[in-house]
Symmetry: C2
Subunit: 246 residues, 2 copies
Amino acid sequence: MTAKTSRNESQGRGSIPSVWARRRREPDQPALSRAAIVREAVVMLDADGIEALSMRKLGARLNAGATSLYRHVATKDELLELAVDEVLAEVVVPAADAADWRAAVTEAAGSFRATALRHPWLAPMLGQAGLAYLGPNLMAFSERLADLFAAAGFPEPSRAIDTLLAYAIGMSVSEAAWLTMVARSGESEADFVARLMPTAREAAADHRHLADSYAAPPPDPAGLRDDKFAYGLDIVVEGLARRLGG
Amino acid sequence: MTAKTSRNESQGRGSIPSVWARRRREPDQPALSRAAIVREAVVMLDADGIEALSMRKLGARLNAGATSLYRHVATKDELLELAVDEVLAEVVVPAADAADWRAAVTEAAGSFRATALRHPWLAPMLGQAGLAYLGPNLMAFSERLADLFAAAGFPEPSRAIDTLLAYAIGMSVSEAAWLTMVARSGESEADFVARLMPTAREAAADHRHLADSYAAPPPDPAGLRDDKFAYGLDIVVEGLARRLGG
DNA sequence: CGAAGATGCGAACACTGTACGCAGGCCGGA
DNA sequence: TCCGGCCTGCGTACAGTGTTCGCATCTTCG
């Protein structure tokens, strides 16, 4: 925004047309391009969450007007699709290894979760648009998972993929939402938990089991989340192994 | 909107203040109330999806101005929280039965999925706000699940709940997103699949396993979704059973 | 009857995504 | 060298959003 203003001022472009007010692109700024737009969108999404991303702000960051973006991107939704696929490139899936497919699958799911937590807008986004994205990185991710399960001997790898991903997405989506709340509060996770505790306890008042789980504030919330994910992942993988005929 | 306009016209209220232009509430319309607002919001969400719900449109449907809603609801987000909790009341969880906890758990998850598909905005919403909602119906739902798992002998029922719900949410979120896309297309699910097929095949071109799964269009997409959910659910429940020591 | 509080709402504000059409730079052909 | 067509950027504008404010009205109680 500041950059754009300064350009307008320094070059006198805008409302007053004039021969001297010519437009000259700064050579260091690498021009507007789809790749640059998507990259900057990811940065903004990471920094301030999904509802803080507007075409105008994004344009300003790129020293461009809001509507210039539409030369490279059809619509905001399309831009978000591109952003999703962009960060999905970060998910690493180990190469197929029939001997220890359980470790490989566990690692892949963990990498997905890590990516989703690094970009807390990813999981809700995947949720809103589903897996019908067809972006190249999502395809590659699925294919590598399919490799893994096929090598392990699953007759229908896509079934196993769907199950594993449903778990990973479900867990990540909840976790990302939680982390977003925490981030918005400005407090540390532990402080936030402590502040929420009374309300939670009241809401769980007439529920025996829930009251138990809200009894004491957890000492290490982040570690607890790791455990929770690992615990459930183990259960899913165990179930898959049984299905395979272990 | 039409209703509101007609009231304004018929009673002459609005821009011209006049002694005769008095406001009289139709006695059949049961006045604005939080419950009525939430109920109507759910109807609108079900009908046209989440991005079609605006405070103005909702107000119009209730023969009220947009800003009147704010007397009963602090903000739109709060309204959405209330709507989420409202529909969560539809999820039925069988009473605790130690003998056949697997069937009970399976049924609970199925009911959750059915609810999520009946209200396709629910799953994305739960994803965006997480399970930190603390609404009474969500609490009751969790408590009943905890009952189930505790009766089955799980030492930490909350762990089992988290795992099961992560799977159910992940699967439902994807499915709801898919159904939303289908609905927006105006076509039947089978037709939509057929139209998407070429694009999908192209995107999967250099991926062996994916290409296989896109080889032929499925004859019964809805039934296939049911199968997929049941398959994964079975795996999760199996894993839980193993963990229990069965 | 009259005061106090609850309720509805019109107008306004600061935003949003996006369509349109103009202006200027870039590039291939005469 | 000039010229025409294309690609790119963007100012303006439009319809819509959530929400605030202050006024008008209704309801209720003393």
